[in-house]
Amino acid sequence: MIEIHNIQKSFNGKKVLDGIDGVFESGKMNMLLGASGTGKSVLLKCIVGLVKPDVGSITYDGRIFTNNKLDIKQEIRRKIGMLFQGSALFDSMNVNENIDFPLKMLTDMTRAERRERVEFCLKRVGLEQAGKLMPSELSGGMKKRVGIARAIAPHCTYLFCDEPNSGLDPLTAIKIDELIKEITEEYDITTIVVTHDMNSVLEYGDNVMFLYQGKKLWEGHSSEIMDTKVRELNDFIFSNRLMRDAKKVEQIEEEEQREEDQRQEEEKNRNK
């Protein structure tokens, strides 16, 4: 579980994050939803410590991360896996070496153990055959899979994904979302996913936080998001035509249901 309290961050006098609180539970898909440029990536970078927040505190399972001693920070970081927006694979290494890298650097596993772990992780993300390929030879979806494999290789407790399905075709996007969710539940990982994709929120999200211009405007379970009264969130959800249509269908169905109820009522009255 990760807790953040009153995170504020400005760049050149411009407030990008304006006092964000939140709790991210373990074994759940915690989603950060928002339009481009609202500070989602900056918030994620604050949480993992790539960007230092001006104000605010972050705790990992009760252990303070911000402003703590370097060795405690490093210890927490070793449990963090991160999937970057562009995958950020090391392009001088092949897939196997990429996944092996954190194991080599951060653990004292033997060569054989590492090889086994790399194989396992590759298999877990469905890329048994790709070990010898270089990152430049991979498709976008494969890169994300390798990124996930690299993130989970050292048995991470916390997983951060920055727009895991941006730039992918819808089918591949769903597969990546699915994979992240499976892994999250399987290993009881605290996962935070940054996204602007309503489809993945509705389909795979558990807890959702909606950011708008650096502020948290809504928070709740993904199943409640369609009933929101927050105007900005409504605008965001229904900017998509499919979503609008879905809402219309829902309204029509509701109306039909009401008429049906009325008819039955009248019938009952008549029968009396």
């Binding site: 993992v48 410590g49 790539l50 920070k73 490093q74 970081r77 562009g86 950020a88 694979l89």
Partner: protein, 214 residues
């Protein structure tokens, strides 16, 4: 170590070509300017040796390497920065600056002197070939010139310079690359800046070295 091999192998060809021709050109020009019956022809060999060892081999080689190694380092680090590979290292709890930059600096410091030694040999050889081909002096005279009043410290001086240059080029280029922000355009900008800044700093250092050490 890998880095060293990479820098060395990737640069040895260009260094060889440049230094051979520099030696040849130096020899031809000196013989043109030394058209005097009272000066023995072997002086040409002596002067080629002095010029190449003291100045041409270390400085020209380093300028060539500033273009090649400097842009390579800055471009590589810049790309790693903008594609978030540097962030990926940091998230793993690895100190990205020392992990990425130190090996490059060490490799440069190791490899530059080797390339400079190669450059010395080849430019002297280039001078020999040019001198005998143009008939400016005989091979025997050239070798006599090479052997006359040899000062061992000059070689040490050249190697010290090459180490200083290696340090300058690799640190400036690493700095420019590591602190790239933006996109592909800025990566190109960083490499260009890395090369121009390195060359200027290198020439200043060349002057300082000459003042202090000679």
């Amino acid at each position: 170590m890998e880095e060293a091999v990479l820098i060395g192998i990737n640069s040895v060809f260009i260094v060889a070509v440049v230094s051979t021709f520099i030696g040849a050109v130096t020899c031809v020009q000196i013989s043109y300017n030394l058209n005097n019956a009272f000066i023995p022809r072997s002086t040409i060999g002596f002067m080629v040796r002095e010029m190449t060892i003291l100045e041409m081999a270390p400085t020209i080689t380093s300028i060539v390497l500033a273009g090649k190694v400097g842009s390579n380092i800055a471009g590589g680090l810049g790309t790693m920065r903008i594609t978030e590979q540097v962030d990926a290292l940091e998230v793993m709890g690895i100190n990205s600056a020392s992990y990425l930059v130190l090996p490059k600096m060490l490799a440069s410091i190791l490899v530059f002197p080797m390339l400079v030694i190669i450059a010395m040999f080849l430019s002297i050889l280039g001078g020999y070939v040019a001198g005998t081909l143009t008939g400016a002096l005989s091979g025997q005279e050239y070798i006599t010139g090479l052997r006359s009043s040899f000062i061992g410290f000059n070689i040490t001086f050249a190697l010290i310079k090459s180490v200083v240059f290696a340090f300058i080029i690799s640190s400036i280029s690493s700095y420019k690359g590591y602190f790239t922000t933006g996109g592909a355009l800025e990566v190109g900008e960083s490499s260009t800046n890395a090369v121009t800044n390195s060359v200027i700093a290198l020439l200043i250092a060349d002057y300082v070295c000459a003042q202090v050490l000679l």
